[in-house]
Symmetry: D2
Subunit: 284 residues, 4 copies
């Protein structure tokens, strides 16, 4: 006798073991993704185009295809300095397999570590598309304010608001670099390729003002956030694209860690730990 | 007073918070990966080349570059049928964010799900490179056996051993497809591109015999296992490359799940659960 | 030459590899947790007291000790119906080890699955402690409203607000049970033990009104949310305590899954997947 | 049209969305675990008994109940020194939620970090139960050797084999402590409580010889491995029980990390990273 004889689950839940998908259709000896047979895709497109097709549903234009390739490369690696890479190496050093070490590293993409790309995309997209401009995501900060159409004025307002509040604008400035070479290079490329939509225009306008006032440049998150917004990606996919670009780098680090075959790592040595709790207590 | 005043940790452990890396050098305003500045890489290579550079340390030849692009695409997606995709969708449906859902899916790459690519790479590499041919990875199965140089004879021996043992040869046959269209397409491409090294030669020889005897074709794992072995990748990186190719597909599924915004999924309904434990017991 | 010769990281980051902790002091041959030597703790207290000591910093009173034991047991297992348990079994079925399967299951404690305990704790604590009562966590919903001191009136207001909004009150009602036997039992015990603080009083008052109006009872999350609030736990630890109680159950399921040694599970069969994407497209 | 109209999956796979469980039976308003109603369990047993019931299927004897409580406490915490705790704190410091930080920490229980408890259980159980004694787990090391019945002789053989091979015996010796206070205390308790089965007898015999020859004592893994083996737990559950005991400690650390609200941690500072890769290369 199954549990089903004794209890009646509501009908919505029953439906949840059925699934509708628009991504891939599997038939015997035929695999069709976003309308194209995988044989066709394997033979004829580039891997960045495949990523674009999976996430957006259609193939990119030739210009988007080229730019999306630059974007993915730019995320590749920032050495052993990033928390995700350190977490993956830490786990790998405990003897866990490749997929487990990678998996753990992805859990380090918390708000503080990987939020900037999505925050910058939200900033650009909300500043330009929404009637009510919410300068700090999801907080009603300036909803009574009227914004002019001019992108320069919007940029001015954004910088003013953040600086008055003594907050960092997501996508600008870098912990290690006074000028993030990746952000700068990407902006060079969009200029050369004439791939400048309204979001990139806004990003460049913000950078100009910020640099004059504070000597701060656009970083990789701001540059990619602007480019991806111009391509029509929703901010909710920003971290996803960052991860696709970064994962090969993390795997290279995990592989290096495993190959080095040392003992397990720690983020602090015993000398760096100080105890600040109770003095000795005793149970009666 | 720190713990370090009270206890002496051995010196090896102290070294473990120092790290040597050959992947990326970070200097102020300069990021150099595998010897190339990232600005140079962002502007001039393809993303598959970037993956290859990170994992192997050097850029691919033009032919390898082309083939590695085909390989990455071929892993892209197999619909909602694979355990990793199902796990990621299950987690996404509970309201967890993108990186968390992806991370959980990667944990499903256990021995039963994603072992075939590495197993086929081990099989090909051990069959051709090692004096003692260990047909089942790491088990001394046929170590007394003399193998001829001929790839056809090796293929014959492999098929005989597995069939006699009633075991599947890793990289051949598919649960859903009588002829995996991805494996077939990849083998077409290596023929067209004349990208056939000794491992691919062996894979094709095995397929020929298996098809004659059993009607079984090479699958995606066997095809990519052979190509990656010919490129000089160690079997321990097989799953890593599979994951790089598959993750964009998993993210597309997670995004679809989140967009559909239904309740949380289950892999079984209450009707499908049957209880087979103790009858009622009581505490005194 | 190290990277440190080339780049100057800010001083805050350097401090982050030093760590201060008030939990456990490690000296050679001596381990002291929250002031007590672990030898003392191992010999003299109960495991629930140990959990309480770790999380709250001090040992519970005898009454709290007894009640905390009931609380932990009540979370133990809800069969194969919960998403976390299903995720863990799914991962275990792919051949991944025990810790990996457990880890993946915990990732399913997203907002939709495990949010109710913390939501109910926030509701009770905010309703009773805060000047501005925010009935939906973190939304300024009723901040202009004056609340009387009377717990019955607060309960009335809460029920009115939620019912008017056609929303579920966190901690009341259950998908499978018209009367969650665990919630009911815990409320019986607090009455017997006279362990009724203001939060439990509020929970019981809400249940009384909800039952009269809608036939809805308190569930496990509401009952434990009230008891833990009376013990002084912050809502941010609600999910932590739930996990401590539930993990033994998940491990029992993972072990059962591994022991059954079947193929890998899925949350849907191929018959349950329908494709709703593009018709066939072709690359030129 | 569903995929199922187009493809026929094998019948075994269809069965995998049905599930048989002996753990918990869910009926409307009734939850029965291992034969007991949860109301009964919540009111009448201890949480350690609940853990035992879930994992072994039956309630412990009074003596086992007492001892299992000591065992669970002994795993509670080893400060910020262990890789799992460090991983969890690292992830928490990135802004990820409680369950995600805990989940990542569990991924650090790789072979090098948490293998000792299961290795010591395998060692004791294989030494005493199996005809062919496999002193290094799963390797046929001494399978031709005849062992006497005497536990002292078995202990002697084990120590000889490991010392000759210059290997550590799992469950003995400690990185930080010359005498692990937890292992010593547990052995005191089994003596007081007269809870000494054949596995504990063997562990004590090994410790005696090891101490004479090398000054090495039993550690927490060896002590618990012996006790749990005497209770009839299979070695495959050793890590599970360790995790149940340790998770409250990890959660206390995660909570401390979140409360401290500093920036994200790293296991190494930029000064500790040295680059050992290619000198500058350029793309043509």
């Amino acid at each position: 006798m199954t549990n089903g004889d004794k209890i009646k689950e509501n009908s919505i839940n029953n439906d949840l073991s059925k699934i509708k998908t628009a991504i891939t259709d599997i038939e015997s000896n035929k695999i069709v993704t976003r309308g194209y047979s995988q044989e066709d895709l394997i033979a004829n497109i580039t891997f960045p185009d495949m990523v674009y097709l999976l996430l957006k549903g259609d193939l990119p234009s030739p210009k988007e295809s080229k730019m999306f390739n630059h974007v993915l490369i730019s995320f590749c690696d920032h050495g052993v300095t990033s928390p995700s890479t350190q977490t993956s190496r830490l786990i790998a050093s405990s003897g866990s397999p490749l997929n487990v070490a990678l998996s753990g590293g992805l859990l380090s993409f918390g708000k503080k570590h990987a939020g900037a790309i999505e925050d910058s995309m939200s900033l650009f997209q909300e500043a330009l598309n929404d009637d009510i401009f919410d300068v700090y995501n999801f907080e009603n900060y300036v909803n009574s304010k009227d914004f002019d159409n001019s992108i320069d004025e919007i940029a001015n307002d954004i910088v003013d608001i953040y600086l008055n509040d003594n907050k960092k604008i997501p996508g600008f400035g870098h912990r290690y670099h006074t000028k993030d070479p990746r952000g700068a290079k990407l902006m060079d490329i969009v200029r050369e390729e004439d791939f400048i939509g309204k979001h990139t225009k806004l990003a460049l306008a913000i950078e100009k003002i910020l640099f004059e006032k504070k000597g701060i440049h656009i970083n990789i998150d701001g540059a990619n956030g602007a480019i991806l917004s111009d391509m029509g990606f929703s901010s909710s996919l920003g971290l996803g694209i960052f991860m696709i670009g970064r994962i090969p780098g993390i795997l290279a680090h995990v592989n290096e860690e495993i190959t080095q075959k040392e003992g397990f790592r720690k983020f602090c040595n015993i000398d760096d730990i100080s105890y600040c709790g109770y003095e000795d207590k005793h149970l009666d």
